[in-house]
Symmetry: C2
Subunit: 448 residues, 2 copies
């Protein structure tokens, strides 16, 4: 990770790093699938019109065009690369609604592209791992709970260290703002979302300047945003702050967030924090909103975000509500590789390097390798009969744990390069210790 | 696969189809890794300069640009999407040579993009699965043999039916052309490459018109291209055709192709055919060239192609020879899904659908599901306590094989929806038959 990208903003991994990434992706996939999420992919390309429907980050979109446009080009829709997995998924759902069974749960791990100005930890091409549940017309609130549980388990399975899901509910925030007389709730949410970045005094000022808040209203909005509890006690604090009987909307938000906190504290204890400063800038969230902090990597911002949208997509009168969360895989991986917290035990899948005594032994060596491969043991045969020392060194350089020798009488020996132990063996039955079968992903503690 | 793509040339799969694709990709990965190939990915984006270096399909390249270019844009290199995995890999090798151990073997399964005019079975976005071995300075010929063996095994593992690797050698063809007095061998190869498409008489005419061949030279070039043997007997036929002692280049080609055929016939019997019409249009091949026909799907053209290039990449005086093969995964998958030859047994990873007796049972039902999940059994819990008939129907519609019931005394029963068998059971120990654990990929014979 000390190498410089040859194109600014585009990360490329070395083999051992890619093995680490693949292990992460496999782990996520395993957790998602065991919870009944279907794998799905969408095309990389969308019409610009589709991408701009959500009215957001247009300046970051990469348009594509054929280098040699031909006569038909003018009639084709203007195309661009996806910048997230949500917008394409919404488009996919409306297009294929007739072929899907709702509620539909899918995971989607794909690259996305943003033409952002590259800076530390920001990439122009990166992978996102999304899970969503989408309903046809209605979707029970327990889907919000389930999505949060599954993601918490996925993050635990990654063994990336301590993290906190910071959860809030738009109904709660909006209900509160309205009850104190702030009606442009979208503006208030956008401003409060910057609290961590710009601090309370600037938020208060902006609330007064652009959201029509009085000093007292701004003060109370900030007091709400400062509520943070690891259990359900946030509800009492909100009620104390409102004074009056909560409005229906506020009460609904309180109930939903209380249920979410309660189930999370049972099923993934210690992972959730009710944090009423969480707003999420985007307009389309309508209930649960979630961000995730990785302890010790607060500078990464949220490593996993999302929430509930009552209208993920629509088709005529048909509306598809959804709830989803998305992990920024590339940023996370890149940070953990850079800090040395994650590393692979070797740079190749190979477990056994079969050496050559003479060049003519290549066929016999492939027979040995094939016997190992037939039992799922990755094996590679030397390409030329160099000195054994050189062959061993080549294996060692790539972290291959075992080298294999066959003498001219057809007797076999296998050597563990790490310990130096060498023993007689048989290619039809030998197997490595389970932990050597695939490259191990080593999680190093930060303070050795 | 009856659905129409919403963007012409861009295939999107339904959940069951994606499970089939994923099974294909997993199978390829397993075969590649067990043979010691490292997973690798490169960025989707290359500079246009890099892509045009090989001087080929420039009209098919998709350029990318930020929708809102800013003041810095002019200074940035013009970028485009990769159209294959070979050119980006070559660039990656030169950039990271200092970090790689040579010979370096990698596999790369990624999407590529081509702005071609879409037609049946041609896509603008599609996946290619490549394996290559790259050397630093030199690379033994047995790498050609190994690449062919690994790919043949990968194709066998896909269980897509009978296929033939059609193998040839550029040294053989070029050596032969020179020996009959044809010196513009690149032109001759490009013309002969069209033999299957345009037929012998048009090839003969083109050879006369644009490659300076006499009628007799054209005739002999065609005779060479008609040699096709399942064993090493092609060599005799070539020698008979030359008359004289073969030139050094021709002899080298004969020796290499003979060795390739001999080892393939031993290690993957019945899969290889020496076919001297195989030329591959591209300039950079210098030895072995391979195409693959899937029997019954000849209209697909080659499903897996590649060969040897003495200079895959270079960096100053350092040259990296390589040999590689590439499967066109999307075209292959799309054909087999369309014909109904490949299908998934269900549309979701879920094995067990845990029903709800009352809405309040959701927590207890999640406990049951968690016990199953902890043993790797994919489980999903109903979202609402509809009538059991409706819950079962939802599971059945998606092909989930088992539904789970818990009564008010906490007794458990599991039902196989397919057979109707229902039995008392225990969530801490129940397991499905192994074949139900993951979706099965069903290979249907064409004539049932």
């Amino acid at each position: 990770m000390a190498r410089k990208a040859s194109l600014s903003g585009y990360l490329e991994l070395l083999p051992a790093e890619r093995l680490t990434e693949l292990h992460m992706l496999d782990t996520l996939r395993q957790v998602f699938e065991v919870h009944g999420f279907s794998p799905l992919e969408t095309r990389a390309v969308e019409t610009v019109e589709t991408l701009l429907q959500k009215g957001e980050i247009d300046q970051e979109i990469y348009a594509i065009s054929r280098i040699h446009e031909d006569e038909g080009a003018g009639r084709e829709a203007k195309l661009a690369l996806r910048f997230d997995n949500t917008v394409p998924f919404a488009r996919y759902v409306t297009e294929n609604a007739g072929h899907l069974a709702f509620p539909f749960r899918r995971y989607q791990i794909q690259k996305v592209w943003r033409g952002e100005r590259p800076q530390a930890g920001r990439f122009r091409e990166f992978s996102q791992a999304d899970i969503d549940i989408v309903g046809d017309g209605a979707l029970p609130f327990r889907c919000d709970v389930e999505i949060a549980i599954v993601m918490a388990r996925a993050l635990e399975a990654l063994r990336i260290g301590e993290f906190s899901l910071r959860v809030n509910n738009r109904k709660l925030s909006e209900g509160f703002y309205r009850s104190i007389g702030l009606t442009d709730t979208a503006a208030v949410l956008r401003i409060v979302d910057k609290l961590e970045k710009v601090g309370p005094s600037q938020v208060a000022e902006e609330l007064r300047r652009t959201a029509g808040a009085s000093a007292e209203q701004a003060q109370r909005a900030l007091e709400l945003a400062q509520i943070r509890t690891g259990d359900g006690s946030f509800a009492e604090k909100v009620r104390a702050l409102v004074g009056d009987e909560p409005s229906a909307l506020l009460q609904e938000g309180l109930d939903e967030l209380s249920e979410l906190m309660s189930v999370l504290n049972t099923r993934v204890p210690g992972r959730a924090m009710a944090d009423l400063s969480i707003a999420r800038g985007l307009d389309y969230y309508t209930g649960t909103v979630i961000e995730t902090l990785l302890h010790g990597h607060e500078d990464l911002g949220s490593i996993c975000s999302g929430g509930r949208y009552e209208s993920l997509a629509s088709k005529g009168k048909r509306v598809f509500p959804g709830v989803g969360l998305s992990i920024g895989v590339t940023r996370l991986l890149s940070a953990l590789l850079s800090s040395g917290e994650l590393a692979a035990s070797r740079s190749v899948p190979t477990v056994v390097y079969v050496t050559l005594r003479t060049s003519e032994d290549w066929g016999a060596a492939q027979d040995v390798a094939d016997q190992l491969r037939s039992r799922g043991i990755s094996a590679e045969v030397a390409l030329s009969a160099e000195k054994f020392g050189k062959q061993i060194k080549y294996a060692d350089r790539r972290g291959i744990p075992f080298v294999w020798f066959t003498d001219d009488l057809g007797r076999h020996e296998v050597k563990d390069i790490r310990s130096g132990t060498q023993e007689e063996t048989d290619p039809s039955s030998w197997a490595p210790p389970t932990e050597d079968l695939t490259p191990q992903i080593i999680r190093k503690t930060e303070d050795p």
